[in-house]
């Protein structure tokens, strides 16, 4: 056995002995991954015995792994369907909204910093019917912007993604053609485009590929200093995603939040509501076999609903509306 392996075992054993933490495994959405990773890191600092290992693998994977029992809890931007919930018979799955986020059309077009997109133009681009940046429909919404005569490189997700769900859900609401041809789900049959893995992969591709467009969560364009466009909302205004516009999208839903917190807020009414907004949820089993893990997760959820919410705005997400927080705190109590 070579020395390196021996050294590795030694360090590994030492580390194992030195850290008797309870590791909780979670996996799911890339949309909220930046803030989840920050939360879990901070919570671990405050509570060293709780170690939550979150793998940002996509909402589809999160749901799949929760169903198979290979993780302790999951995370998804798409609420689980009744069919998916039916597959988990061991316990009930509770949805806990954590933050609000906006999905923006990030683009990489030299010399252009701002583009206005309508639902129809976005659907056209992703259906492949609008092929060039200086297409008539885009020019109409962007008078005075120097859109080049270049092919649009479309980027979408190659993995099962809640972000894809929210985006395709929005497109289904604004484009009947999209709804009938493609539909809304975490994994759709994209008519055109390159695939990137995770929000990270899509941002990476858009950043490196000239004249490309991709849909990503707001925090990724902020972190990578990318340009992103405004989107026309149901009221007819072109709105850019930020704290206020995303919160406004949730305003209507928060008043009539269903008991299980599963709701879609795309294309929400409201003068300045951002149309491609979404809640994102943690999928928590109602009952844990391992009482220590259950207690740790409950503690985290309480922290998330109070201290955690204050971090949201700083990371380009919107915190949950107060009525939702109140309702959720009651749900935390029902976790065993």
């Amino acid at each position: 056995m070579n020395k390196i392996t021996l050294w590795a075992i030694g360090v590994g054993l030492a580390a194992a002995v030195a850290m008797p933490a309870e590791t909780i495994n979670a996996a799911g959405a890339t949309f909220p991954a930046p803030i989840y990773q920050k939360w879990f890191e901070e919570y671990h600092k405050a509570h060293p015995e709780v170690q939550i290992n979150y793998q940002s693998v996509g909402s589809g994977a999160g749901i799949q792994q929760l169903t198979q029992g290979t993780v302790d809890f999951g995370a998804s931007d798409m609420p689980m369907t009744d069919e998916q919930l039916g597959k988990i018979t061991k316990y009930k799955v509770l949805h806990f909204p954590t933050v609000l986020g906006g999905i923006v059309p990030a683009f990489n077009v030299t010399g252009v910093t701002d583009i206005k997109f309508s639902g129809e133009t976005l659907a056209g681009i992703y259906l492949g019917t609008i092929k060039k940046w200086n297409d008539a429909a885009l020019k109409k919404d962007n008078p005075g912007v120097n859109l080049p005569n270049e092919d649009i490189t479309v980027v979408h997700r190659s993995d099962g993604s809640g972000t894809s769900f929210v985006f395709s859900d929005y497109l289904s609401k604004v484009s009947p053609e999209w709804k009938s041809k493609v539909g809304a789900s975490t994994s759709v049959n994209w008519p055109v485009g390159l695939g990137g893995k995770g929000n990270e992969g899509v941002s990476g591709l858009v950043k490196q590929t000239p004249f490309s467009i991709g849909y990503v969560e707001l925090v990724y364009v902020a972190q990578n200093k990318m340009s992103y466009g405004s989107v026309k909302n149901a009221a007819g205004n072109f709105v850019k995603a930020d704290f206020n516009t995303v919160s406004e999208a949730a305003a209507g839903a928060s008043k009539e939040m269903p008991a299980d917190f599963r709701v879609s807020i795309t294309n929400a009414p409201g003068k300045n509501a951002y149309p491609i907004s979404s809640f994102t949820w943690l999928l928590i089993p109602a009952k844990f076999d391992n009482a220590v893990k259950g207690k740790a997760i409950k503690g985290f959820l309480d922290w998330m609903l109070t201290a955690g919410q204050q971090e949201a705005a700083g990371m380009s997400y919107a915190p949950l509306p107060k009525p939702v927080v109140v309702k959720e705190t009651k749900q935390v109590a029902s976790v065993q």
């Binding site: 056995m1 070579n2 390196i4 392996t5 050294w7 590795a8 075992i9 360090v11 590994g12 580390a15 194992a16 850290m19 008797p20 933490a21 590791t23 495994n25 996996a27 991954a33 930046p34 990773q37 920050k38 879990f40 890191e41 170690q51 290992n53 979150y54 793998q55 198979q68 029992g69 290979t70 990137g196 893995k197 990270e200 992969g201 941002s203 990476g204 950043k207 990724y220 972190q223 990578n224």
Partner: protein, 282 residues
């Protein structure tokens, strides 16, 4: 005369071209090393070896858990793969019947040729699905499937290369077959076998695909073997396809470290082997 001159010119051109092909092929190796060194050497610092990965966008993280994690899954795969390969190889070289040997050799070659992603699926069905966990065990099992054929082939090859005179001498002195193998043949072949094993380890150290859905990945130290574990190759993959410059920097560093270890193991193993066979002949 013209024809001869033409043939000679053609001769020189083709020979020069083939030399160019060789230069290009060898140059690629140096290009790879060069790129890794150029992009990675500044990032291979103390932080890299001792810190855990930080959330995206925060500077100063490292890959300490991935280095140790790789060590852990390799160790598991060695514990499973080497005994099977070694003892199986002894069977093939010393005990086996014609048909049994043919069957085992054929399946070992088959196993060797299975694409690593399919090995990953296999380990997933056998370990992850049954235990409901992504774990270091699953990752180690997957890698051991790749280690076994290498160990088997190497052991058989080097045991067979031991001259029969040694075997016959030992048996003539009254030692049993087992004794002969343990005390005479294996020691004679041990250099070759060991270098083969080292080459096998170097090969699996770089494998990513089998770990993608067995050991998965981990932000922290794994304190149990039944938990997901980070590994260098998977870290390189996730960091390379991300949009963050800091993660790219770390991917280069990890690539340099990984390739460095693999190449050192390969070079050392071959040098030992060359010296060993020379000593045997001399």
């Amino acid at each position: 005369m013209n024809r001869t001159i033409r043939r000679n010119i053609l001769n020189n051109i083709m020979l020069a071209l083939s030399a160019v092909c060789t230069v290009v092929s060898v140059a690629i190796l140096f290009l790879i090393l060069g790129f890794l060194v150029y992009n990675g050497w500044r990032s291979v610092d103390w932080n890299f070896f001792t810190k855990l990965p930080l959330a995206a966008g925060e500077e100063g993280g490292g890959m300490a858990n991935a280095i140790v994690g790789s060590g852990i899954v390799i160790l598991i795969s060695i514990m499973i793969g080497i005994p099977v390969g070694f003892l199986g190889g002894i069977y093939l070289a010393e005990f086996g019947s014609q048909t049994a040997c043919m069957a085992v050799r054929y399946t070992a070659d088959l196993l060797n040729g299975v694409p690593s992603i399919v090995i990953g699926i296999f380990a997933w069905t056998v370990v992850v699905v049954k235990t409901h966990h992504f774990s270091a065990w699953a990752g180690g099992f997957a890698l051991s499937m790749m280690m076994i054929p290498i160990g088997l082939r190497t052991t058989e090859q080097f045991l067979r290369s031991v001259p029969d005179s040694l075997r016959e001498g030992s048996l003539a002195l009254g030692a049993s077959k087992t004794r002969t193998i343990l005390a005479v043949i294996v020691p004679a072949a041990k250099q070759g076998i060991m270098t083969g094993m080292i080459l096998g380890v170097a090969r699996i150290a770089g494998e990513t695909a089998p770990l993608l859905f067995t050991a998965l990945n981990n932000q922290y130290w794994s304190d149990k073997l039944s938990e997901p574990v980070a590994s260098l190759p998977v870290m390189i993959y996730t960091h390379a396809i991300s949009p963050y410059d800091d993660w790219h920097r770390q991917a280069w560093a990890a690539g340099l470290v990984l390739l460095g270890l693999v190449l050192i193991a390969n070079i050392a193993a071959r040098m030992v082997l060359a010296r060993g066979t020379a000593a045997q002949r001399g």
